[in-house]
Amino acid sequence: MHLRMRKIVDRCFSISAYAASTAMTLLVIFILGPIFMRGIGAYVFQETVENRRMMLDQFGRGDSEALTKEWQTVQKNRQPIYAALQAFEKELEGYPAQKRRALRKPFQEVRQALTDLLGPEPGKPLPALTRKIYGQTRWDRAQLKVKDVLFEVTWDYSGERGIKVLKPRAPLFAGTALAPVFTQVETQLAALMQPRWRFYPQFLTDRSIDAHFFGGIGAEVLGTIYLALGAMLIAVPLGVIAAIYFQEYAHDGWIVGFLRTCVNTLAGVPSIVFGLFGLAFFINTLSVSPGKSVIAGALTLSLLVLPTIIRASEEAIASVPRTYKEAALSLGAGQWRTILTVILPAALPGILTGIVISMGRAAGETAPIIFTAAVSVGPMVMPAEIFSQATPALSWNLYNLCTEHEAVEQIRHVQYGMAATLVMIVLALNVTAIFLRARVARKLKG
């Protein structure tokens, strides 16, 4: 080939290789960046007075007197709106039938949107659902909700696809008692809602209120901890003992070869199949619990992480210098004593690395717990109930909240908060593992 041609090919190859790795890095930034950025919004956000009321009522947090005072000011600010609503209602009765009919539905829509924004009007009976007792608790949501008051959503079907068009409501009500409401809501929203920054670390531990409309993700975090720890408690003894056997006792024979093949096959089983197996074996056959339960989920997850633990422990044991073992044996220690007092302590950091990585995996898996442990809505599970109770878990509830929840759009902040929390937990565990491994490497170097 011509020399110049070869150079061009070489350049192209290098460029595409660099491009591939850059693309990978960029993708990650584009994907994880927004999840973290918006996930933080669940912990740090601008709250409204409604949030302070909710916190005081539901969790007993905050200064009751200060809030009462603030609430009075807010009510005073909101008074013109309520007055306008009532005045317009009366005015509506006096209109000719046709105009009345034309305005009644838009008026009801405005009123509903205002109720969503500010909470129920004073003097009305309190709604049964907690989510309806309070107006918008987050400033960003409140700013979105104002649009519902100000605009009517219509669809323009003149083109090939329908296009959303926002039609202002104010002209319809021009000259009526309701007219000032629109300008007031648009210009004085801050006075109506009293936004203030809030740091809400309790999001991690608070119970959820009314299907995640308010409150935190405590039950999910607790469930994830139960499942991950439970899986480890079952899998670690099994895995470490198997690793000791493979490394220290087993001789190359067909039995050991077969057992190794089994472990390798276990590593390749799809996670959803573990879920099916957990349902068929632990719940339907062994009946470890009448239905889904924490223990059934932990058992299923323990099988999933078992190969990882065996491999990591085997590697750790194999990397213990041979001289350690020979020294122990020559001092007269038996095989058991050598393993327990010399090999295992030396291999411990390596084994821990495997355990920590597996724990991250167990915490993040969803498919194996769908049929065995996870429930969409539930209270925090007490330690005594793990043998009988299904539990919410971060991974499953993230799926559930963004697909099956009745108001997916309204609780985006909870979803992002959950996703970010789950990623943080898993990453923290893996970073620990990386540091542990670096320490082992340094120690082996001497």
């Binding site: 994907i31 003992i241 056959t285 078992l306 058991w336 991250g360 799926y399 990386i434």
Partner: protein, 313 residues
């Protein structure tokens, strides 16, 4: 005096010690067997609950017909579209992920400096650890609206969305396994090739990649296994419509995969236990299990062949 302080033991003590040692040994073997044989128990129980389905329904109808009406009377379980859906999503993701993954691995192992590699390797490992449900969340909440509103696709949850996210998910595994294989190919090969006047591209394509081929095949296999068995991403991103896209390469139509069907349909498992619908899902699980088993065998075969070749060299 305690026994352990003496050097000479009586024959009886030696016998007890031997018995204890043998007991300990068999205890270890027993525990190891439990851990290792778990996979056989899994295969047995999945197969046990899949058998009643095959007893009542025809295997050929299951694999090659298109009528999926599990809750009709009488129910029909033609899962062709679901198998094809799994195939489409997996193939597309592998076609995206394998070339990109190999190029990135080449870049990492032969082009960047040692320090950057030391920095990037743990980052790639961290990426592999991110839970699949988070990728699925991204696919559903960010990617689907983007496809729908910006690119004007009819439905944002479709085969392409799921494949792209699956590819991104499989990349870290593919990159790190192929990078290891490329590193293992050795310095002498590269230097020999450079000494003969080859450019970097020629060295890598004609010398290093063929030498690392078995490792790269294993990486691709791992990627395929991950893509076939992945549940959450495809469940959330693929649209879950039981249909074969028309034409079959139209990735912008929603599809439904085996894993998503199992996850989605087993929802009311407690009430379903024993029904044909319950058993058909186990039949699907069994197919997945068989597939991963085949992939594993292929992987072990490649490794064994490579070992034999190295020994022959």
């Amino acid at each position: 005096m305690r026994t352990s302080d003496r050097i000479v033991l009586s024959p009886q003590e030696i016998r007890t010690r031997r018995i204890f040692s043998a007991l300990g040994r068999s205890f270890l073997l027993a525990v190891t067997a439990v851990a290792a044989l778990a996979v056989l128990i899994i295969i047995f129980f999945i197969a046990r609950d899949a058998v009643p389905f095959f007893r009542e329904y025809n295997l050929r109808d299951f694999l090659f017909t298109n009528a999926w009406y599990p809750s009709h009377q009488p129910a029909q379980f033609g899962a062709k579209a679901i198998f094809v859906g799994s195939l489409i999503v997996t193939l597309t993701s592998v076609i995206i992920a394998v070339p990109v993954g190999i190029l990135a691995a080449v870049c990492l192992s032969d082009m960047v400096s040692f320090n950057i590699r030391q920095l990037l390797k743990p980052v790639i490992e961290l990426l592999a650890a991110i839970p699949s449900v988070v990728w699925g969340f991204f696919a559903l909440v960010v990617m689907a609206p983007f496809l729908q509103d910006v690119l004007g696709v009819e439905s944002g949850a479709n085969a392409l969305n799921a494949s792209v996210i699956l590819a991104i998910m499989a990349l870290p595994t593919i990159v790190s396994v192929s990078e290891d294989a490329l590193q293992a190919a050795g310095r002498e090969l590269r230097e020999g090739s450079y000494a003969l006047g080859a450019t970097r591209a020629e060295t890598l394509i004609k010398v290093v990649l063929p030498a690392a081929m078995s490792g790269i095949f294993s990486a691709a296999l791992l990627g395929i296994m991950r893509a076939v068995g992945e549940t959450m991403v495809v469940w959330m991103a693929s649209g879950n419509a039981t249909q074969i896209p028309r034409p079959f390469y139209n990735l912008l139509q929603p599809v439904r995969t085996l894993t998503a069907t199992i996850a989605g349909d087993m929802g009311e498992a407690d009430q379903m236990t024993g029904s044909a619908h319950y058993h058909v899902l186990f039949a699907m699980g069994l197919s997945l299990l068989l597939f991963s088993f085949l992939c594993n065998m292929a992987g072990e075969w490649i490794v064994r062949r490579q070992r034999k070749r190295l020994r022959g060299m």
